[in-house]
């Protein structure tokens, strides 16, 4: 549903007018667009192509952030070192970088949201056309509170966590307006709230005001957050990984909303993300950050066509893309599959005791030596399948056969013995390793318990395993918190392959990792699989990752198997509408192609 542009315009005008006084008089001459029409500074015209000769809304110069560690006893950590960029009116500026690059710290520093251990230096001048310029760095708390939400708004990654669960969203929108636009009457505030919700394309906005956050899906909640952020027509909207926690199809929906918003409001968007696909889809200009410094700033097409910095090239090369050529299937002909689901049904009880069907009659098998990818959105039941194979989820009906045993039918002793032949890699490596174990202990655990190794032999095997995942063997005595995510996932893989498994179950093993780390972990995974030849059930939502790794692909939707087949067949020429939708929803890291897909 779309809202006529005029409605938005008038509302924007009324709110901004009441908040910050008459707008038209103080527009600087150097802004030709705005000078001709007093209000167009608030509402950008359609077709927001990057314009370079406008005065920036936000001018960041030599921004530095360092964190004092241990009350100054340990040298400070310099998270951001001299970052400069401009945000032009009406544009979408993407800040990309991997975790630890300082991109989030930069945005938090702008709003003064860092803790008291942070020392912020440099300058960030905020001042859209017709607004009083203000220096954000070093601004006193009260003045900063006035800027937050009203002139610079922020959208966080976890939308359901950022909304207060005990108030209706109508109340929360109203509160925001009451705080920042006290001149509005109750009825005006309500109208504005309805308008904001329709701006982010929520159906029945007037009804939705009475809804509580839990009644919205993840994508809707994120749209409400965006609406709330836009409540006071901020000059800049900081969006920190706004779609990272969402499924591809939902991400598409939020990106669509953001994209169309640019045609309705004048707000500039600073999009902080690690996803090159999202950048290609939405951004006008891109700032690439690494280690707290800006590596490259370029218009989006230029960045993707001719990346200047070596790091940008690396980053782009690491992004997996659908469309890898045919390769031989690793499956070995055998009498019995390594893993077989037969008409599997998994039901959980919800809080009211009702049965919720997570998996609904799925038949699927994994042959020895074969990698089968299970693909689907969250809630599709793909993780439940994996958990079932591991005996962590109840089998309501149907059967599972894992490396020759059937959990639930065979004796618990036999099932437990079979576990020695199954390796597991979970999504979050930091959470799936015992924090009280050194990584050596974690890797040695299966050897100790199942293979009964002790002493020097155990130490030797552990060291070998760590080296096989390209970690120094001397790290046995390190603890998980001392390692990075990618290193931890290597430890998980080492633990999973320690007994030379027949079957490996990997549940989203790379989704918590940065792209470049993901690339190396996937490479390692492929090598290990090739040399050990185990069967693998690879659960993932990322079709590009699946394309790089899998032999066969199974697509799940709402607990049912939608489509199964060879990788090139399913991803190359999908038969089912849902598979096509899934493929189309994932943004491609190529602005030209992405634009063509949008147009088509």
């Amino acid at each position: 549903m779309t809202v006529p542009d005029s409605a938005v315009t008038s509302a924007s005008r009324s709110v901004s007018g009441s908040v910050s006084g008459p707008v038209s008089d103080s527009v600087p001459d150097s802004v030709p667009d705005s000078a001709s029409d007093p209000v167009s500074g608030l509402v950008a015209g359609p077709g927001p192509d990057p314009v370079t000769d406008r005065t920036p809304v936000l001018e960041v110069r030599d921004l530095t952030v360092s964190f004092r560690v241990d009350d100054g006893h340990t040298p400070s950590v310099h998270a951001v070192r001299g970052v400069s960029f401009d945000v032009l009116p009406g544009e979408v500026l993407a800040i990309v970088g991997e975790s630890g690059s300082g991109k989030s710290v930069t945005s938090l520093a702008l709003l003064g949201l860092l803790g008291r251990h942070a020392v912020v230096g440099g300058s960030a001048r905020l001042g859209g056309p017709g607004k009083t310029p203000v220096e954000l760095i070093g601004l006193e708390r009260r003045a900063l509170q006035d800027v937050r939400g009203r002139r610079v708004a922020m959208v966080f990654q976890d939308s359901s966590g950022a909304l207060d669960p005990v108030f209706t969203i109508g109340y929360q929108l109203d509160e925001m307006l009451r705080r920042h636009a006290p001149d509005l009457s109750r009825a005006q505030r309500r109208d504005r709230a309805v308008e904001l919700l329709s701006m982010v394309e929520l159906p029945d906005p007037a009804e939705r005001l009475r809804f509580y956050p839990h009644q919205f899906s993840g994508g809707q909640a994120q749209r409400v957050m965006i609406a709330m952020a836009l409540a006071c027509d901020p000059e800049v909207l900081l969006a920190d990984e706004p779609t990272t926690a969402l499924d591809v199809t939902v991400q598409r929906e939020v990106l669509d909303v953001l994209r169309r918003l640019r045609e309705r409001v004048s707000t500039s968007i600073v999009l902080i993300t690690h996803d090159m696909g999202v950048v290609a889809d939405l951004a006008d200009r891109v700032v690439v950050m690494r280690g707290g410094e800006v590596v490259e700033t370029a218009p989006v097409r230029q960045l993707f066509d001719a990346p200047g910095a070596a790091y940008t090239r690396e980053l782009l090369a690491a992004v997996p893309r659908v469309g890898t050529p045919e390769r031989p299937n690793g499956a070995v002909g055998a009498e019995r599959p390594a893993l077989a689901f037969d008409d599997l049904v998994v039901e959980y009880r919800d809080r009211r005791g009702r049965a919720v069907r997570a998996v609904d009659g799925v038949t699927l098998s994994v042959q020895p030596g074969e990698i089968v990818a299970l693909v689907g959105e969250s809630g599709s039941g793909k993780s439940s399948m994996g958990r079932c194979a591991l005996g962590l989820a109840p089998v309501t009906s149907g059967s599972v056969e894992v490396v020759g045993t059937r959990p639930g039918h065979d004796s618990p002793r036999a099932v437990r013995a079979a576990r020695a032949r199954i390796g597991v890699v979970f999504q979050n490596p930091a959470a799936s390793l015992n924090p009280r174990y050194s990584i050596g202990e974690s890797v040695a655990e299966p050897l100790l318990v199942h293979a009964g190794l002790r002493g020097a032999e155990l130490e030797r095997r552990t060291a070998e395993l760590l080296e096989s995942v390209e970690l120094p063997a001397a790290w046995v005595s390190r603890y998980p918190h001392e390692l990075s995510g990618g290193q931890l996932q290597r430890v998980s893989i080492a633990r999973a392959i320690s007994l030379g498994p027949d079957l490996l179950i990997a549940d989203e093993p790379t989704s918590a990792l940065d792209v470049s780390v993901q690339a190396t972990v996937l490479e390692l995974f492929r090598e290990v699989q090739r040399s050990l030849g185990f069967a693998c059930l690879f659960i993932s939502h990322d079709l590009a990752v699946v394309d790089e790794l899998a032999d066969r692909v199974a697509v799940m939707h709402r607990g049912r198997l939608v489509e199964t087949g060879a990788r090139t067949r399913v991803l190359g020429s999908p038969e089912q509408e849902y598979t096509r939708r899934l493929l189309a929803a994932a943004p491609v890291p190529d602005p030209v192609e992405q634009a063509a897909r949008r147009a088509g």
């Binding site: 005996g391 009280r436 174990y437 050194s438 050596g440 020097a456 130490e459 063997a473 918190h481 998980s492």
Partner: protein
């Protein structure tokens, strides 16, 4: 990674020093460098010594016998021969504090240890397995929590024939394990569903190992904190019972007894209250500090 580096690393691993065997790397090394650990340990060591051989300390100021009381010297303020003054019976406060240490520490530590042991077993089983056992434990603890503690203690203690520090400790433990069990249960439940516990289950480890190596070490933090505080509250609870005539019998000496007899004269002779209260506070503080330091150091994240 370069080849020589790998080689050298492999060589160091072959040496016994770097193998998984040194999992507890640095616990003692880190502990050794914490001044708070030494302070707390020293205080507790002195208290232990006092509890074991009170005679060696009682006589320091010339009045070694806590039961040699002279009514003519009732409620003397500190100074002169009685360094901490005398109580209302004319007994030396210092000697009483010294001789009371054994009974008070026995009650405090024994009761906490017994309650903790029971709570760990029951709470862990209930928290980890859930189901029927969990419901039984939850209701049972509800009953104990709803039951007035004093009434219960009165009933049990009057039916116990002889009352010693040990029997008082056991009765107190009987009424304090349910709270601890609740805490353990809650703590275990939050850890039970952690991904690393699921990973351990998926690896096919026996439950015993999962509980001992994965669940308990990660769930013990808050329990340890409460247990150390409990030592102090138990020592005070003993004094309440004694005040009601149900704790230790009159010839016994404990800090609790001193506190309860001194509180009536607080306005006229505060010194009788101050001395036992101060040692009690020091004991509890030392326990809490030691617990805190241990908890920090046992967590690899707190280690250097």
């Amino acid at each position: 990674m370069s080849e020589p580096l790998t080689e050298s690393l492999a060589a160091t691993t072959a040496a016994p020093a770097t193998a998984p065997a040194i999992a507890r790397r640095g616990v003692w090394r880190t502990l050794r460098r914490r001044p708070l650990f030494w302070v707390a340990a020293a205080v507790l060591a002195v208290l232990a010594l006092v509890a074991l051989v009170p005679l060696a300390f009682a006589g320091w100021f010339g009045h070694p016998d806590p039961r040699a009381c002279d009514l003519a010297e009732s409620a003397l303020p500190p100074g002169g021969g009685h360094v901490l003054g005398t109580d209302v019976q004319g007994c030396d406060v210092w000697a009483n504090v010294v001789f009371g240490t054994r009974a008070s520490l026995t009650v405090g530590l024994l009761c906490t240890a017994v309650a903790l042991a029971v709570a760990l077993v029951v709470g862990t089983l209930a928290g980890y397995y859930g189901g029927f056992l969990d419901r039984v434990v939850a209701r049972l603890t509800d009953v104990f929590l709803g039951f007035p503690f004093l009434l219960g203690a009165v009933v049990v203690l009057t039916s116990v024939g002889s009352r010693s520090a040990v029997s008082v400790a056991l009765v107190l433990a009987l009424f304090s394990w349910p709270t601890m069990a609740r805490l353990v249960r809650g703590s275990v439940r939050t850890v039970r569903d952690a991904p690393y516990v699921e990973a351990a289950r998926a690896m096919g480890l026996p439950d015993r190992r999962i509980i001992a190596r994965y669940v308990l070490p990660n769930a013990l933090g808050p329990v340890l904190a409460v247990a150390t505080i409990m030592v102090g509250s138990v020592i005070v609870a003993e004094s309440t019972l004694t005040f009601l005539g149900l704790g230790l019998n009159a010839p016994s000496i404990s800090w609790g007894l001193q506190l309860s007899s001194a509180q009536a004269f607080f306005q006229t002779s505060p010194h009788m209250l101050v001395a036992p209260a101060a040692v009690l506070t020091i004991t509890v503080l030392a326990m809490i500090t030691l617990g805190d330091v241990l908890r920090d150091v046992l967590d690899p994240r707190g280690r250097s």
